[in-house]
Amino acid sequence: MRKLGLIYSFLNIIKGFVGIGGIVAIVIITMLPNGTFIDIGDPYYKVEEHGKSTTSSEIDNAVGEILSPGMRNEDPIVLQVKSIDLSTEINYSWKTLIVVFIIMTAAFFVIILHSMQRIIKDIKNGKPFSIKNIQRLRTIGLLVMIAPIVEWLMSMIMILWFSSLDTVDGLKLEFTSELGWMVFILGLIIYTLGFAFEEGNKIVEEQELTI
């Protein structure tokens, strides 16, 4: 029951953050003056060559000098990238990393699916609140909670690995990785269901031992 209390408190904290964040966002939006424009995405391009970088405005000026005198610098310049291919040489470390990732992902899904199947089987047999089902639900909940954390760690490893690779001159790779909070909360819900099943088990046991 103490663990259940901790989970309840944790959910209250998350609700607090969501509530405060929502209020702040609404206040900011409503205070924006009408008629102005807000940037929602800043097209930015940067060319690096041997440690020297050239930013958007410099490129604009350079291109403006090349173009015909009749064309003004303020005229929009559209740069099109036809295709970008990123490839890496297959080697032992790359293979090891990918294999480990595949095994972990497969094991994760197999454990969860198998546990779900056993739970369903027990429900069909009229014994949903068995001790084993309680343990299975907790296992599934923990795995689902851990999954986004592991995924984030794996992404960080891949990012570090990619960043260490040689790239084409002038090409800079940027990566982002976010933690799957929704999946984590889903795992927490499943874990909490284990406590509900525990109570169900007590009720069934009492009922079975009532003559």
């Binding site: 046991e205 009492e206 031992l209 009532t210 003559i211």
Partner: protein, 67 residues
């Protein structure tokens, strides 16, 4: 458990067998055994009534409280 079920004592007094009593009560021998061995968590009034009727006794003859 503080509540002691003296069912086996009363059954011996009345010379009633488990199988016979279970049939008259409409319960399984397994459930009757749970009751006799003190593993039961609760007894329905309907069951207690049937026991008293079949064994010709009072509830107090079957149930005893010990601290």
């Amino acid at each position: 458990m503080p509540i002691i079920v003296n069912l086996d004592v009363m059954m011996a007094k009345r010379k009633v067998r488990s199988k016979e009593l279970a049939e008259k009560l409409g319960i399984t021998e397994a459930n009757l055994s749970i009751l006799k061995t003190g593993k039961a968590k609760a007894v329905r009034f309907s069951t207690l009534e049937a026991l008293c009727r079949e064994l010709n006794c009072q509830p107090g003859d079957l149930l005893e409280y010990q601290e």
